[in-house]
Amino acid sequence: MANELAISVSGLKKTYTSKANGPKDAVAGIDLEVSRGEIFAILGPNGAGKTTTVEILEGYRDRDGGEVKVLGQDPAKLGKDSWAWRNRIGIVLQSTNDAQDLSVSETVKHFANYYSNPRDPESVIRDVGLDEKREARINTLSGGQRRRLDVALGIIGNPEILFLDEPTTGFDPEARRAFWDLIRNLRDEGTTILLTTHYLDEAEALADRVAVIVDGKIVEISTPENLGGRNTAKARVSWLENGQKQEIESDFPAAEVTKLVAKFGGEVPELTVIRPSLEDIYLKMIGQP
């Protein structure tokens, strides 16, 4: 494909005006690019502007400024051929509660009729792990199963881009891991995936790249390994000396420890060496102590 970018966004702005608080920038100038075949995570606390951003990309909301291209088209200016664009994208919204009285297979099969080149409904049901529930009514599914159905409906049209908005909120740990495998498989089949999450471990486990968003602004875009300079961050060495806690930051913690061992002639009281965890870095980024 000539255009290797699945999504490009520059200077995206969206302002909401409420009677109580006046205008507020939900999205205050965002730039990002997502390549084809990439899993890109937008990570941030609740209310940071993740859903607003994604819903602008999905064509649900208009914007107040900036440029947006999704599969080479501006979602706000689709015009008559909007169906052709929607035919190429898959959307998994936040909580949905529809089609209660239908069965899983009825629903998935029905949605396949909407697309020009759908996947096989049976294999989609199998892929999302709902094979045993295929004849079950949707109102009998658990939260995690329901979310798997949402994904089935998101991918039934064989999309080039899949949008996932907080896909695993409310999952138990086992269900989350199974869900992550499903998403990785989709990426391996060539689907570009844009997901929002407020779970750090989810971004770390899944994403090729992560954008951290706070108050409508991107704080950093990086791979999970390099986020916040974690790979180059100084280690913190601390110990007890003369009844006082001592602490230094160093790029070479082993050398510091060697010096301390020589000084104490053996064991160093209450010695610890800590590298900041991804969580420490993330909390710092979003402004939490």
């Binding site: 649900y60 919204l93 909580s95 509660n97 529809d98 089609a99 239908l102 009729n113 020009s116």
Partner: protein, 262 residues
């Protein structure tokens, strides 16, 4: 190749009917409520309105016409805001489905529910209240197009009006009073020609009065036409009014239809 808009509309219709049939309360209510009303009114008003025209006979015409309004306009203007709340519409918006396919699906649901409801009402009426069924082919044909055109008109107006209620919880409170007032004004519960003139003229602006009159032309003897305000059934006018409302409703529905509340 894009899947056909009409084909997807019919598939949606099948799905809507399936969902409707699985909600037992709504099925029972839709089918039995008109029958219950007929039973109550038929038991209270025993007399004849004119030689050979019982009140039940007159009332059935009104019941079928208002069934069209209840099943189409009222049901959809309440159901669509609920579907918005549940995210049904938002999900559809994210697929290649055309709003027209969605509209067609709703119209099919309304039409099928109407046919079943009318069948129940006529069967019950004929068995218990000596209801006379339409007695000429011409009347059956007229009955057919009235149900079809009435269903489509009522559906599209229900979709157009669904933009008015803010959410599903408040929808019934907004929609139901309008329907009940129209029913009183349009000669469903009372003989239309005995209503005050201003009420008649007001009702004549809306489709229900014309549907009711059309149903009378199907169920009452030809001689009763002389009892109408216009001394005739006014069949061409009925068709024209319904078509105008359908066209206006389609325009409004396409303009105002909201997939979500944002």
């Amino acid at each position: 190749m894009r899947p056909g808009i009409i084909k997807v509309g019919f598939l949606r219709g099948g799905l809507e009917i399936k969902q409707f049939m699985r909600q037992r309360e709504s099925v029972v209510f839709t089918l039995l409520f008109p029958v219950m009303l007929l039973f109550i009114f038929g038991s209270v008003f025993k007399g004849d309105l004119a030689p050979g025209v019982t009140f039940s006979q007159y009332f059935v015409a009104g019941m079928i016409a208002s069934g069209l309004v209840n099943t189409g306009f009222q049901q959809l203007a309440i159901m669509i805001p609920i579907e918005r709340d549940f995210g049904t519409l938002k999900r559809l918006r994210g697929t290649p489905v055309s709003p027209i396919s969605y509209f067609i699906g709703k119209a099919i649901l309304v039409f099928v529910a109407m046919v079943v409801q009318v069948g129940a009402l006529m069967g019950f009426g004929a068995a218990l209240f000596g209801l006379d069924l339409p007695n000429t082919t011409e009347r059956w044909i007229r009955f057919g197009w009235l149900i079809l055109l009435g269903s489509i008109c009522s559906t599209i107006l229900g979709i157009a009006f669904s933009a008015v209620p803010k959410n599903g919880r408040g929808a019934s409170a907004v929609v139901s009073p309008i329907v009940i007032i129209l029913q009183f004004f349009s000669g469903v519960f009372f003989v239309f020609s005995t209503l005050p003139q201003w009420m008649q003229q007001f009702a004549a602006l809306f489709p229900l009065k014309w549907l009711t009159q059309g149903m009378r032309s199907v169920f009452l003897p030809e001689s009763f036409a002389a009892e109408e305000v216009a001394k005739s059934w006014e069949i061409p006018q009925i068709a024209i009014i319904l078509i105008i409302w359908t066209v206006v409703g389609t325009f409004l529905a396409l303009k105002t239809f909201k997939w979500s509340d944002k």
